[in-house]
């Protein structure tokens, strides 16, 4: 289900090639996706127990997008996204315990409990948030790309947005500048079919992957439930952006299994629709099938991975419960950098 814009047919021919992937690399992708899935399930559980408050947007169903792209990145590349960000952070290698403790609002959280589910960052892992204003992360991502270019550090910024966010005006302001100045940025639309309760058909005119066409930004639509397809497209896109040819737009066709946030009963879609995706397109089951069928992997090889992931999530949960709440004095810190 890959379609391309005309202008991009010639341009996006990179060396993205999955044939050289080793089985252990694919197993790593499987583990990364599973970690996100299990982590999010635990987060949902803690939310139900009242340990997590406020907004909590789960990434379940979309795991292949971030894991596939992350697997194509280099250490110098930076990432920015919106509020549905737990998966991106885990994929970047941020500590599950630190993420979970942020969700529970504890001092051990990655933002010391002051950010919450939507606002975590890691300079070390080059993860720049965690932004709650729909679409605002996109010009910021272009700015991170600008900094990569200015500092000549060879990095590319990967700027994620939802299908809903792709209607924000500032996204196109960023597209224009990124294309005009050939900034090293890969824009990724995670099209999970809904912006809250509004389906793409009801909120977006035209095809989303074509939305960079007016700026001569090559665009591609990818099956975002197929981690290997995502990886290949990301390799090509990153190579294109890194080589100084300017930004690329990837539309990842994906699906979120849970409601928009914890309070959303998702009445705007049918159970059949959800079940169909889960049964036919689930990214984790799909990769598992490929591993068993095409890569000579056995169920027994996967069991220890599943066990490891489960343990890791339980440790994160434990940490997030044990870590104390921030000291009241933390209220007043981190407002300004002391000059």
């Amino acid at each position: 289900m890959v379609s391309k814009t005309k202008s991009e047919e010639q341009k996006l021919r990179g060396s993205g090639d999955n044939s050289k992937l080793s089985v252990s690399e694919i197993l790593k992708m499987y583990e990364d996706m599973l970690l996100i899935r299990r982590f999010e399930e635990r987060a949902g559980q803690l939310y139900g127990m009242g340990l997590i408050g406020g907004f909590c947007h789960l990434y379940i169903g979309q795991e292949a997008v971030v894991v596939g792209i992350q697997s194509a990145q280099k250490p110098e590349d930076s990432v920015i996204t919106a509020y549905r960000d737990h998966g991106h952070m885990l994929a970047c290698g941020m500590e599950p315990g630190g993420v979970m403790a942020e969700l529970t609002g504890r001092i051990g959280g990655l933002s010391k409990g002051k950010g919450g589910s939507m606002h975590m960052f890691s300079r070390e892992k080059k993860f720049y948030g965690g932004h709650g204003i729909v679409g605002a992360q996109i010009p910021i991502g272009a700015g991170l790309g600008f900094a990569h270019k200015y500092l000549k550090d060879g990095g590319v910024n990967i700027a994620y947005m939802g299908d809903g966010a792709s209607n924000q005006g500032q996204v196109y302001e960023a597209f224009n500048m990124a294309a005009l100045w050939k900034l090293p940025v890969v824009f990724v639309i995670e099209n999970n079919q809904y912006g809250m309760g509004t389906s793409v058909a009801r909120h977006a005119a035209g095809e989303l992957y074509k939305r960079g066409a007016g700026y001569d930004i090559p665009g591609e639509r990818i099956d975002g439930m197929d981690v290997l397809a995502v990886r290949k497209a990301a390799m090509d896109a990153l190579e294109h952006a890194r080589s100084g040819k300017g930004p690329v737009l990837l539309e990842m066709m994906t699906y979120r299994y849970r409601g928009h946030s914890m309070s959303d009963p998702a009445k705007y879609r049918t159970k059949e629709e959800l079940d169909h995706v889960r049964e036919e397109r689930d990214p984790i089951e799909r990769l598992k099938g490929q591993l068993l069928r095409d890569y000579g992997v056995k169920e027994t090889d996967l069991a220890p991975i599943e066990e490891r992931v489960k343990e890791e999530c339980l440790r994160a949960v434990e940490f997030s419960k044990e870590s104390p709440e921030p000291d009241p004095s933390e209220l007043w810190t981190d407002v300004l950098v002391e000059a």
């Binding site: 700015g143 900094a147 302001e173 960023a174």
Partner: protein
């Protein structure tokens, strides 16, 4: 009957200019639309085209003349063969017109401004009370001497010095590079620093403000120019939500060293959408610094401080002040502290606090008050957030009266904050309610008379001060 050709204004704030070149000579036949001459201001050069037709009888102001007042007669047209006479009527008219132009011009009489050329200062009655510096810290910068420069030059010099010092500092905004700045603040900077560091953006405030924030997260120190702060409303989300809050939301990891700058407050005769002071809007936000220089020394010292500061700074300039000259220390590292006000004029009867262009008005009001026997202390806030409450409160404890002057509206304005703070800090010292002098609570009108009524005038400050002094 001769027709006068008058010196035109290239912008609402222009009061005088230079005749760079005449492109016609006396005796030439002039058709309307013909380019007559080129005039120059510190901002721009423009061609003056003929509106009327006839023979050029006389070039009244020769090529190269500088300081030619707007609306003065620069040439005359007439019928072929007509002899040009400088009639007394015309001479009268000319003086009247040029004084009118000066009277209408929204320009502060430089005479009462400390640091202005000494010739002007001698006219002042109480200039001995004008302080050059309020603090010993600042005094040290003045010991090495000063030079005269405009606010515009001071800003440019500050940015250029910081860009020489730190390669991660860069300037971006609309028309900052090839056009040399919409108000010529960045004139010549493209030539010195090149297009990688002085960057013309598309007209895309929200986009480039967000891009600047991302660049700051990514290790750079952007200076983002808004053509005027009015347009920063397109970008306010990035200033408030992206720049100011991220440090806190990240538990102290993600500082955002960025300067958002541009002219703020009323310009002259540009209507409601292009004339607004955003000091209280931005000062409302924890995580931001908000600075508002008045003179060239403030502009230079505060701009350098803003660029070096590791936090987001909103830097409120003023179009009308750009062309005004003041003395600035020549010291090679003149940086002012953020969060300190400056007592511009010491006095004992009433404290007048003001920021930006209103400091000049407050000083003029203080002169008027002096003639009435009221000795006012004038405080230049310089920094709106953080506010130097200590200096203000100490002054109020001495004078027991406070007048707050701002170019913004009264509701939830800086004056409202001033009133609350004084109740908290020196309730028992107050002998009169705090008086606020503000923009009237209406959008700024275009008509000259209404515009003047809407904006705080010297008379308003005098009246408010007399009111709180009961005199």
């Amino acid at each position: 009957m001769a027709i006068d050709i008058l010196m035109p204004a290239l912008s609402p704030t222009m009061t005088e200019g230079k005749i760079a070149r005449w492109l016609v000579k006396e005796g030439d036949a002039i058709k309307s639309g013909k380019v007559l001459c080129e005039i120059e201001t510190d901002k721009a050069t423009m061609e003056v085209e003929a509106v009327d037709e006839g023979t050029l009888l006389k070039i009244v102001v020769p090529e190269g003349a500088e300081g030619v007042a707007v609306n003065s007669v620069i040439a005359a047209l007439g019928a072929k063969g007509e002899v040009y006479e400088q009639t007394s009527r015309r001479a009268d008219e000319q003086t009247r017109k040029s004084t009118d132009a000066v009277a209408n011009a929204p320009v502060i009489d430089p005479g009462c401004i400390p640091g202005m050329s000494p010739a002007n200062q001698t006219q002042q009655i109480s200039s001995a009370r004008l302080l050059v510096c309020s603090s010993a810290d600042e005094e040290k910068f003045y010991s090495g001497g000063t030079k005269t420069m405009t606010v515009r030059e001071a800003l440019r010099e500050a940015m250029s010095e910081e860009m020489r010092r730190d390669p991660t500092v860069f300037l971006m905004g609309e028309e900052v590079a090839e056009y040399n700045g919409a108000y010529k603040v960045s004139q010549g900077m493209l030539d010195e620093f090149g297009p990688e560091r002085v960057i013309d953006t598309p007209i895309t405030e929200m986009g480039f403000a967000g891009l600047g924030v991302g660049a700051a997260f990514g290790g750079l120190k952007p200076i983002v120019e808004f053509m005027t702060m009015n347009f920063s409303m397109q970008a306010i989300d990035h200033i408030v939500n992206s720049a100011a809050k991220t440090l806190y939301m990240s538990g102290g990891q993600m500082g955002c060293p960025i300067v958002f700058r541009g002219p703020n407050g009323a310009a002259a005769r540009v209507g409601a959408q292009h004339s607004q002071c955003f000091a209280s809007w931005y000062a409302h936000i924890p995580g931001l610094y908000v600075l508002a220089p008045w003179n060239a020394a403030d502009a230079k010292g505060l701009m350098k401080a803003a660029i070096r500061n590791p936090n987001p700074v909103v830097f409120l300039e003023n179009e009308i002040m750009y062309g005004q000259s003041f003395e600035v220390p020549v010291h090679d590292d003149f940086v002012l502290p953020i969060g300190r006000a400056k007592i511009e004029r010491a006095g004992k009867d009433v404290t007048i606090v003001a920021y930006a262009i209103m400091v000049g008005k407050a000083l003029q009001a203080a002169e008027e008050l002096w003639k009435l026997g009221i000795d006012a202390e004038v405080i230049n806030l310089r920094s709106i957030r953080p506010l130097d409450v200590e200096t203000i409160a100490a002054s109020v404890r001495k004078t027991n009266r406070l007048v707050s002057v701002e170019e913004s509206w009264p509701f939830a304005g800086i004056g409202s904050e001033m009133a609350a703070l004084m109740m908290e800090h020196c309730f028992d010292d107050l002998d009169a309610p705090i008086a606020r002098v503000c923009h009237k609570d209406v959008p700024l009108p275009y008509a000259a008379n209404l515009e003047k009524l809407a904006l705080p005038q010297i008379e308003d400050i005098v009246a408010a001060a007399r009111g709180v002094c009961n005199r």
